[in-house]
């Protein structure tokens, strides 16, 4: 996968074809990663569908969602959230009673055309200083972060 090393955020997810084929049984490996990802998500969707009809969410699901949300949870939190999310998701089931709508955009505050040229605004040095002051690590007027590439 292009730039797989830079995708440290995909920790725990398959990053090479070999890893991927050991995770999910994919019959026709045609070498195009985009197509593989589509198949993977379709397979996963099938498993997810089987679970969602019961409205129950497993601990594994909670951990998966927490990973997507970049949230660290304690064991106790996972247990509590599993119960709470299950009852909330149960409640959402009633939405399926309403027939589908063709044009959804009506519901969203649509029709706003408000863009501006993508140019930096001229502000005083004090403003930039105030912004940097909020960051935990800075160096020479830059925000310093941990290593991204290995």
């Amino acid at each position: 996968m292009p730039g797989s090393r830079s995708c440290a955020l995909l920790q725990g997810y398959p990053r090479t074809r070999a890893e991927l084929s050991s995770w999910y049984p994919v019959e026709n490996f045609d070498g195009d990663f985009k197509i593989i990802i589509k198949r993977v998500s379709k397979n996963r969707q099938k498993t997810i569908r089987q679970n969602s009809s019961t409205g129950v969410i497993s601990k594994g699901d909670v951990l998966h969602i927490a990973k997507l949300a970049r949230l660290e949870l304690t064991e106790a939190e996972v247990e509590k959230l599993q119960k709470e999310l299950s009852s909330i998701l149960d409640y959402f089931a009633l939405l399926q009673e309403v027939p589908s709508l063709v044009n959804v955009a009506e519901g969203i505050h649509a029709g706003i055309e408000a863009t501006r040229p993508d140019l930096a605004r001229d502000t005083n040095e004090g403003f930039a200083k105030a912004l940097l002051a909020a960051a935990p690590n800075t160096k020479d007027g830059y925000i310093k972060v941990k290593q991204i590439l290995n």
Binding site: L9, L95, A135
Partner: protein, 473 residues
């Protein structure tokens, strides 16, 4: 005459007649906060230095300019999700407990131009997620009418500060009822404006398609003066509308008032219902036509709301990663670790709950079933209202099914907390304005009437509310 009892209008008159100065009034409020807030816990920070500096500037303005504005020199409080430059802004969360705002929100800029005086930042549920301020990471705000009960939320501190005479008025924010509910619980006036009328620039975002800043005040006229000052197009908020508030006279006679049958089915406290119906009858006696209407998608609205808000929140709260601001876990060994640890430590249980719901609703495999479906429901809810407004001018409803509940009563059941927004939430999905007006008490606890209007009809809401306010006085 206690200056703390005076409305904005009365203070303005007093300033004109030189009965007192802004510095005197501000000092009176600051003194009162020192005495009272230990019991009420409305404030997260009291901005004494700023307040006195602004009061001094206001007094100078009043000397030099005979036509000084209505809000000049009047002390107010600000919900701690609205940025005031140089002051701490926490959003009620440990994530931002040491964050100092680097700029003013547009509404604050506008009020500074009016020479208004900020006495402090008020308590809220963490990231405005809640109905009682019990989700604040720092303290629970008590209801000034009964300190064993909640002040409502998420703008609990704002409403309590006005009800406890710690500020003449307050700025809150409303995403699903967060101005109207605490206003109803604390017996003050609260306005949720039409989406787009007040700039969101400088408001810490919860759900960007719903959030609005609005006034909490002692009277309808006060709320109107504040709304006139803070509303208007802002180039820094892409969703702000080309709107200018104009006052207009409204009479109850001949007014068509809709009463939605779905809002009076089971679940509402009998005495609350009686007070609402009494208010409706008062309007009817003055010549209004009461028309029963139906908002058939009401029962789906809350489910849709509690998918849409967490979805948008999960996106908005992704910015808290410990890199540019906020709590940052320095013990993590890599970048991913820094994200997950900072967020794990900084967020409280309710933000975590909502981020997870939202992430789930937007994730691959679930998007259609949850988020897309919720947006469809939103369209139906909006249509319910636009349909109703072809028949009626305004809609009357309760704000809350119950008066202020006891602290801790609902804390263990998030779903029952969510259902507190049942009358206030659908309004936000449609983006229409609604005002909460105190109409009486149940066992000493205030109850608010919700007056819902069509898009950009705040003038109607103010007119009707003022007429009722006078009749109920």
């Amino acid at each position: 005459m206690d200056v703390l009892d005076l409305t904005i209008q009365q203070l303005h008159e007093g300033f004109k007649k030189k009965d007192f100065s802004s510095t005197e009034v501000t000092k009176a409020y600051l003194e009162h906060i020192k005495k009272t807030d230990k019991k009420i816990d409305a404030f997260l920070s009291v901005t004494e230095d700023l307040a006195l500096a602004q009061a001094k500037a206001a007094d100078k303005e009043m000397q030099h300019n005979k036509d000084f504005g209505m809000l000049c020199g009047v002390p107010y409080s600000v919900k701690d999700a609205i940025l005031v430059e140089g002051e701490r802004c926490t959003a009620g969360s440990n994530m931002l407990k040491d964050y100092v705002a680097p700029y003013d929100a547009t509404v604050i800029k506008k009020l500074k131009q009016e020479y208004a005086v900020i006495v402090g930042k008020t308590n809220l549920d963490e990231y405005a997620m809640g109905v009682s301020t019990e989700n604040s990471a720092f303290k629970i705000t008590k209801n000034p009418h009964d300190t064993s009960r909640v002040a409502g939320g998420s703008s609990g501190g704002a409403a309590a500060s006005v009800a406890a005479k710690e500020a003449c008025y307050a700025l809150g924010s409303d995403t699903g009822g967060s101005i109207r509910l605490p206003a109803s619980f604390c017996g003050v006036v609260g306005l949720n404006p039409t989406y787009g009328t007040v700039s969101r620039y400088g408001l810490i975002a919860l759900a960007s398609s719903l959030d609005q800043i609005g006034p909490v005040a002692k009277t309808v006229s006060d709320a109107k003066a504040i709304f006139a000052a803070i509303s208007g197009k802002d180039s820094r908020d892409a969703t702000s509308a080309d709107y200018r508030f104009t006052d207009s006279p409204v009479s109850l006679k001949g007014l068509n008032i809709g009463v939605p049958k779905e809002y009076f089915e089971e679940g509402i406290d009998q005495q609350v219902q009686a007070l609402i119906q009494q208010a409706i009858m008062i309007a009817e006696k003055k010549g209004a036509n009461i028309m029963p209407i139906s908002l058939p998608h009401t029962k789906y609205a809350m489910a849709a709301y509690y998918i849409i808000v967490p979805s948008e929140a999960s996106s908005n709260l992704a910015r808290y990663d410990g890199i540019r601001y906020g709590l940052s876990s320095q013990s993590a060994k890599d970048l991913l670790g820094e994200y997950v640890e900072s967020r794990g430590q900084g967020f409280g249980p309710e933000p975590k709950r909502r981020i997870l719901i939202g992430t789930h609703a937007l994730s691959s495999g679930y998007y259609d079933e949850y988020y897309h479906k919720a947006q469809e429901i939103r369209t139906f809810v909006k249509r319910d209202f636009t349909e109703a407004f072809t028949q009626v001018d305004v809609i009357f409803s309760p704000v809350s099914p119950v008066p202020a509940f006891k602290i801790g009563e609902k804390a263990s059941d998030p779903l029952s907390m969510y259902l507190m927004d049942i009358y206030t939430g659908p309004v936000k999905l449609a983006g229409i304005p609604a005002l909460s007006l105190p109409v009486g008490t149940v066992g000493g606890l205030p109850v608010g009437l919700q007056i819902i209007g069509n898009y950009f009809q705040e003038n109607k809401l103010f007119g009707i509310a003022k007429a009722l306010e006078e009749l109920l006085a």
